[in-house]
């Protein structure tokens, strides 16, 4: 079960033609796929398109009604290879994943696909994880489009534009026999907006027809001599066809309300930011009426030379908005202008920035310097937006200086009650005995270990590659094995072979921890092979330990409750000191709390209402025994374990406290024990609708305890002032 349910929202996919659809980008894309008569869809989750996968999963019933097959692919490569169904048959297929990391994984299949070309439309929807909020290396998907000659769409961030691009993307793909990449930017995926719907279409040609009448064409298979033919085809047939289509359909837009001898070229995805910049400088209005001509590249590869020449014809200068680096488009346009002997000078990275996101600040400043160069009279210098003023101007929006010492970074971290936290608490405790080890980390929630308070993990080489990242550290003369981490998501994605199999084969002595929280949790709680839950449309419950033993691991241990910190600590020590050759694999199992509470909380509330006995637990700290050294926090980092002002009249330092958001996961108690912290921690159990026995016990105990307590208070009499009764 995924973290966020779209069960209700997906009903919008049934909205009949001609109505206004309100919703998020991911839903709009799904609707557009249905409107295009897609036959099959696959993909791999990962921000920013995780929720697109969730929407598709939750829409399975609607998809099935329309005869659409949907798969949660095992990896991006799997998804890309799935598009093979469009090679020989007029079947429309779409896949989606996070880019560039997913595209990296998929690129082998994509290159093969692009070489032979397609018959049915093939659409690759990439969630471009670039700029603020991104969780990966900052690269561009653009390079993949260029190297394999696939066409790249970068529509304006507006639901109508995005929906249109899905539809013409398929047509373009079919017209030019080439897979098409649709780049959805980070903020477009969850963009809320509206568009006018069309009718959902059943695919005209069915998979059944294809399966029952198999076709093949050896010239579509990537093997010499066809592979040489493919390269010629790409250049001589498919590219010209694509250019023709893009020109005929006017996919790129020329907006020129004003006639000026300079102009702006922008990637479609940056259009809204550029228009806002123009508006702030008084050069455009909110409807996009601009004094300066704008050429919008809704297709960023290939660049249409004719269109560029036409746009540049009577202009002295052009400003190109192309986010990220290298500046592929800038080079491309420069080459076009040079070959056409055009006189227009091309600006871009020189007045903007070479590296980094094109934020409104960057864009507006760039626009200003460009216009100042070519038409300074257009700028009202005494009415400029604050952001373009010199940084020391009192009108500058950052004139009030708050320092990073006052406003701390707040990176994401393990949730309250996260079962992965105790794994790292246990490791920290184990390392007190075994000394520090080199740790190769992986991608997933467990990567939060690299941040305070744990500070564990030295490198991360990619999804599922934690174990592979430790492969270089092998030295028989060292008795300190390296430690590798891997999540269950990465494990099934590729880690079983790239990591575990590799370690067995190469006789690595590494200790590998596979964090098994029953979901692909970092990407939003999707089910995977080892998920503990029953999933009506997927096969689950395939244990990780069985898989690693299957590829030859001898030392494997599953810890079924990561909250047993002392057990886990001892397992770590065992594995790290074991003399047995070969990799040692610890499967650390506990369900992701975020998902568990989401499932269990409503049930508990219901049971309580129905008068059933329900036990609720939380932890606490005695303010009088806490001395405020915060060592508990340094081995936990739970958001619910915090600090508070010291109520003790003599002490100044804040004490530790458990906030009411504590879910009673138990780590506080386990740590207090395993790390011999302090006697301040206690667990409170609140029993609703107690049984008769509960009540009997309590009555007896209360009577006994209150008697002793009265005696205690007697002995303390005379210290505090007596309360004077009125």
């Amino acid at each position: 079960m995924a973290e966020r349910s779209f069960k209700e929202e997906v009903q919008k996919l049934r909205i009949p033609a001609g109505e206004e659809f309100h919703g998020e980008g991911i839903l709009a894309v799904t609707k557009a796929l249905l409107q295009s008569g897609v036959s099959y869809v696959g993909g791999y989750q990962g921000a920013p398109i995780s929720h697109l996968m969730d929407v598709l999963g939750d829409a399975n019933e609607i998809l099935a009604e329309l005869g659409v097959h949907f798969e949660n692919s095992a990896s991006e490569a799997t998804a890309a290879a799935m598009l093979a169904a469009s090679v020989n048959y007029p079947l429309r297929g779409a896949i989606t994943f996070k880019s560039t990391v997913g595209t990296n994984v998929a690129s082998d299949a994509l290159a093969n696909l692009a070489s032979g070309g397609v018959t049915g439309g093939a659409l690759i929807i990439v969630g471009e994880d670039y700029g603020e909020g991104s969780s990966i290396m900052q690269e561009r998907s653009h390079a993949f489009a260029m190297k394999s000659q696939m066409w790249l769409l970068d529509p304006r961030p507006n639901l109508t534009a995005i929906v249109d691009s899905v539809e013409y993307g398929f047509e373009l793909s079919e017209y030019s026999n080439t897979p098409v990449m649709l780049e959805l930017r980070l903020r477009s995926c969850h963009l809320h907006g509206s568009f006018i719907t069309k009718e959902n279409k059943r695919p005209a040609f069915t998979r059944k027809e294809a399966m029952e009448n198999p076709r093949r064409d050896v010239s579509r298979i990537v093997l010499p001599p066809s592979s040489f033919l493919h390269e010629q085809e790409k250049i001589n047939q498919r590219m010209p066809a694509a250019i023709q289509f893009i020109k005929d359909r006017k996919i790129n837009e020329m907006i020129s309300n004003g006639k000026k001898d300079f102009g702006i070229i922008t990637q479609g995805g940056l259009y809204n930011t550029v228009m806002r910049g123009l508006q702030l400088l008084g050069l455009a209005d909110i409807y996009g009426n601009s004094e300066i001509p704008v050429y919008v590249l809704n297709v960023t590869y290939p660049i249409i030379a004719d269109e560029v020449e036409e746009f540049a014809k009577d202009k002295r200068a052009l400003l190109l908005f192309e986010e990220g680096q290298p500046d592929y488009i800038e080079q491309n346009i420069n080459s076009i202008l040079r070959k056409a002997d055009a006189t227009a000078k091309l600006h871009g990275k020189d007045v903007l920035v070479m590296a980094g996101e094109y934020t409104p600040a960057v864009v507006t400043k760039g626009l200003l310097s460009f216009v100042r160069m070519y038409a300074p009279q257009l700028i009202t210098e005494n009415d400029l937006p604050g952001i373009v003023l010199p940084p020391d101007s009192p009108e500058h929006p950052m004139a009030i200086k708050l320092t990073p010492q006052e406003v701390h970074m707040r990176p994401p971290g393990f949730c309250t009650g996260c079962p992965e936290r105790p794994i790292f608490s246990a490791l920290k405790l184990a390392e007190r005995e075994t000394g520090k080890h080199h740790v190769s980390a992986d991608i997933g929630c467990h990567l939060f270990s690299i941040l305070p308070p744990f500070d564990i993990g030295a490198t991360t080489m990619g999804y599922g590659l934690g174990s592979a990242g430790a492969a270089g550290f092998q030295d028989a003369s060292s008795d300190k094995p390296v430690l590798a981490f891997m999540g269950d998501g990465g494990f099934w994605h590729n880690g079983l072979t790239s990591g575990v199999g590799n370690a067995v084969f190469n006789e690595s002595n590494q200790v590998l921890v596979v964090v098994d929280n029953a979901y692909s949790a970092a990407t939003g709680g999707q089910d995977i092979l080892s998920s503990a839950a029953d999933n009506p449309i997927r096969s689950t419950k395939h244990p990780i330990e069985r898989a690693v033993r299957g590829v030859g691991v001898k030392w494997a241990k599953t810890v079924t409750n990561t909250f047993k910190v002392d057990e886990l600590r001892d397992t770590f020590i065992d594995a790290l000191t074991s003399k047995e050759p070969g990799p040692k694999v610890i499967v650390a199992q506990s369900e992701c709390t975020l998902n568990r509470t989401r499932r269990e909380r409503p049930l508990a509330a219901k049971a309580e209402k129905e008068g059933k006995r329900v036990v609720r637990e939380r932890y606490g700290i005695d303010p009088e025994t806490c001395t405020g050294d915060h060592s508990c926090i340094r081995i936990s980092g739970c958001p619910s374990l915090s600090i508070t002002a010291n109520p003790d009249p003599l002490r100044k330092e804040p004490i530790a406290t458990v906030l009411s958001s504590c879910v009673g996961c138990g780590l506080c108690g386990e740590n207090a024990h395993a790390a011999a912290l302090c006697p301040s921690f206690y667990r409170t159990q609140v029993i609703s609708n107690p049984s008769g026995w509960d009540r009997f016990k309590t009555t007896f105990r209360n009577a006994y305890i209150s008697r002793l307590q009265r005696g205690i208070e007697k002995r303390y009499e005379g210290i505090e002032p007596e309360l004077v009764s009125a």
């Binding site: 963009l191 806002r276 209005d285 009030i400 001395t627 915060h630 926090i633 207090a672 210290i719």
Partner: protein, 518 residues
Amino acid sequence: MSQPTQERAITMAILAMGGEGGGVLADWMVSLGEHSGYWAQTTSVPGVAQRTGATIYYVELFPRTPGGAEPILSTMPTPGEVDIVLASELMEAGRSVLRGLVTPKNTTLITSTHRVYSMMEKTSLGDGRVDSDSIIENCMKAAAKFVGGDFSKIAEESGSVISSVLFGALAGTGRLPFSRQEFEGAIERSGVGVAPSLKAFARGFDYAEKILKPAPAGVPIQIGIKPVSVEETKAVTDAAISADPVAAVGARLKKLAAHIRDTYPASVRATLVHGIKRTTEYQDVEYANEFLARIASVYELDLVHGDGSFRLTQETARYTALWMTYEDTIRVAAIKVRARRFDRIHKEARAKNEQVVGIMEFLHPQVQEVADTLPTALGKWVLGSKPVNALINRISGDGIKVNTTSAFGYTTLYILSRLRPIRRRSLRFNEEQLLIDAWLTTVMDVATTNYALACEVAETQSLVKGYGETHANGLANFNLIMAELPRTLASADPVARIRQLREAALAEESGARLRALL
């Protein structure tokens, strides 16, 4: 071409932490806008937003005209061009200022002023909290209008979440061209937790309306926008105690309190009163006498060498009282069995009358701690005896859980708490008294030559705290700094030097940073 229109969108940013309902707030805004005839666009940075990190949501609204063109709305806020900023917590409000989203030109900043501490603040060995006042001051300077209040408290009181209060406060500012009913409609349409949300909304609404009313001339604006801090409350109590120390104590301590009143200046009386109460509770009145005797000699020196602030007496009294009531098993047990603790825990668990509450302690008595409480000779024997060591380790090596709400568990702790009379003869008691006296002697020695440094030496005792390993590390660090004193005294700026050493000790538990400095 036609002259471009001057209309601009309404721009709003929401700063929240993952899981705090920033998304819900953005959804309400969209629903509000769309139902009131506006184009609405919202964007957020998805992905890890669920997971406690700082998140920004951005909303733009623009009026629809029948048949009119669709506006081009931005997906990202432009610094200096945001009309309304909502922050769920004070440091997040600070972040909005840091990022230039708030300007005196046009921004209404609505924020809760409570704190959710950052990891950096929480993990400090001492007090790592940033100064809330400074953030508030900067927020007020940066915003055209500032609406700040402890919305977390309001939310809790209304059984709802902060986003409802913020939404109410937004309505209350009157900055948006929508009626209160239209705002409430958005909450009602969302369909979840409507009643409590509306209650919290109403309180947020009233709060903002009240705070934005122009204050009568001369009245300082916006009192109470920040939660009253414990420190402020303490200061008020202390002022009352020093005015009348005798009233602040019970019958057994009246004499000592009168002595404090007659002998000591007002500035140190409260600390001394806390000291005698603490030592009496810990041991007996006799022990409180010993405490006062220790301070008396410091005070005499202070009169001669001091600057009239009596800081030395004050700080020495504070740390002497704390050290004399060091955390041993008896003290811990005595605290755990008291009635007031049971009351507090019931309240904290929000247990209703018909519910049953159980309390489980996580104790980890180590050999050292057991020996500490035993009479000196016995304690030494326990420490030296291998079989006894092994036995104790077997019982509590992995920690023991005690159910304080059961008769057996309670009795165990009760008996421990009643060992108070044997404390004076225990191994640790004697060791601690020697350490205290040695430290006091040093303080007084230094006071004759360098008063300011003596105060710092007194404060250095704050390093000795915690239990088990933390305590051992703290004590080791303390000893290192004490051993360094002769050289510190000879340095160019002894006060700065000892402070530097203390900070190094606090920066890193094991003392590596400190040793590097020595």
